[in-house]
Symmetry: C2
Subunit: 316 residues, 2 copies
């Protein structure tokens, strides 16, 4: 990114396209077009020098588009559409972060507290008009392990620490990062996994993370709550099911699954110790998308690599 590039003609698609285009209408020197839902026409792509959306159209690679902005934080699908190799001259890929780390952290804290307070069991008792205190579930001093120490993982750690939890981050290299109490490398993590009360997956989907939460990793856990707010395909469903049966996992909260929506006949809908939410932990706020687009556009215009640029070699 040593050359300066000022985006002047952006095509936007997806459910937030109209709202984002309206806000960008105020920006001098930047024209926008909103593509019809689910489709970006050849004419639009021929006109555009930049693109923003939740998905990346398959015909974008052969266009003159030099910059693609992902409206979401997860970019695995965008990378598949673009081709994952860091080809020289391909479009720059940037993403939205904004308020998402804090929102996802709040979701995780809410689910952890709901588990500790046994809110679902009390709700079932209320439905039966039963007034009966349950044995207190005291997590003691077992803490939380967060897999993934990027922006999302760090946001989760910040919120959980505010809630009084000790939070260990786990990644490939084990380098310290704020606000984690401690960061360990995955290869050194067995004791932390064995001792944790909650394991949170905040991983992007890459070749290294696909299926990482499977039999071998779950075998280290002891009666833990597992929360997945990363990517569904990081978890092996059969491995999770066995870990729920064997007591390694006491409860799984899944905001993401490998196929969304989850097929109607999947076992996870009805497992009494699985909580499903439909990929809502980190809502994309239009204002965050607008701010991210402006920030990236300005960096590109200065010939700098945007802070929100995706590392094509790493895949996130």
């Amino acid at each position: 990114m040593s050359t300066r590039f000022t985006a002047r003609r952006m095509v936007l698609s997806g459910p937030l396209a109209a709202a984002v285009a309206r806000a960008l209408g105020e920006v001098p020197g930047l024209a926008t077009r909103v593509a019809a839902a689910g489709d970006v026409s050849a004419a639009d792509l021929a006109w555009a020098d930049s693109y923003a959306g939740f998905t990346v159209p398959g015909n974008l690679g052969s266009s003159a588009v030099r910059w693609v902005h992902a409206m979401a934080a997860g970019v695995d699908a965008a990378l598949r559409s673009l081709g994952t190799s860091p080809a020289v001259g391909g479009p720059v890929l940037t993403r939205t972060v904004g308020s998402m780390p804090r929102a996802i952290g709040t979701y995780v804290l809410g689910q952890v507290l709901a588990d500790h307070l046994q809110l679902a069991r009390y709700r079932d008792q209320q439905a039966r008009h039963v007034w009966a205190p349950l044995a207190n579930r005291a997590p003691g001093n077992r803490g939380v392990v967060v897999l993934g120490t990027g922006e999302i993982g760090a946001g989760i750690a910040g919120v959980l620490r505010g809630g009084g939890f000790r939070v260990v981050g786990m990644n490939t290299h084990g380098r310290a990062r704020a606000p984690f109490d401690e960061v360990v490398a995955l290869r050194d993590g067995a004791a932390h996994l064995a001792g944790c009360d909650v394991l949170v997956c905040a991983l992007p989907l890459t070749d290294a993370t696909r299926g990482l939460l499977g039999h071998d990793l779950f075998a280290h856990l002891d009666d833990a709550l597992v929360v997945n707010v990363g990517r569904g395909a990081c978890v092996v469903p059969a491995g999770l099911r066995a870990a729920l049966a064997d007591g390694h996992v006491r409860h799984a909260v899944l905001d993401v699954v490998e196929t969304e929506p989850l097929p109607g006949d999947d076992w996870r809908w009805d497992h009494e110790r699985v909580t499903l939410t439909p990929h809502v932990s980190g809502p994309t706020e239009p204002a965050d998308v607008v701010a991210a687009i402006l920030q990236c556009r300005e960096a590109l215009a200065r010939g700098e690599r945007p802070a929100l640029a995706v590392d094509l070699a790493r895949g996130y």
Copy 2:
């Protein structure tokens, strides 16, 4: 309490009596007796100079007991048994606080997040195998008002602030107290009530607080979540029901009600916007009771008023 008094013979009753007596067995100069559940014999009372339990036996007033320790934080029932007037020469009444403010704060935070995240609605959708994101409930910058700024209210404020909420305390005098962001007097509170997202009741039960959360107070609220972790009788049930119908209250979380257990035919069991839990937000930990008894005993032996002593005139 200008005279020194060293308790030497304590009768304990209630579900924690045996565990607390065991721990107190280590204390030099202090003998204990565990009373049969629900009853304290005349012989035990004739022997005792001090008493600890969740309830206070009616025949205690005529005994030689000089110090009564309430195992719980709420002392309204104990005061009724003892007689509420600060009669000269009556027993000193102390109470347990310990980890309860933090536990109750965690309960409130969990319920507030469960409401914001709409966990109950997502659970209902899961039961029907429905994958459908709900419109995000963004509380914006509306904060939390906590009625009552004593130990429990302050504990709630501390936990909620850790969770990122702005917390206004409300009491009779309006004097600042940590860790509240702001404390206002109830008589000046109309604007704060109108603007709040969550109203938490952390009040003791006194003549001034009985029925305080009724029609007039609820009328100030606008689509607020109400959480009662104080005393059940602070809320007027008919006033709450009307406020739920009129939109002043969007959802009520009641850990306490005026009659516990709540009678089986009460409307609150089945109201879809009422969440009931059976008085579990602040579990009494035996270790906290033991620590409180020791702390109060030492203060009394020095001729000092224990920090955990109840003000008989105020009633808390």
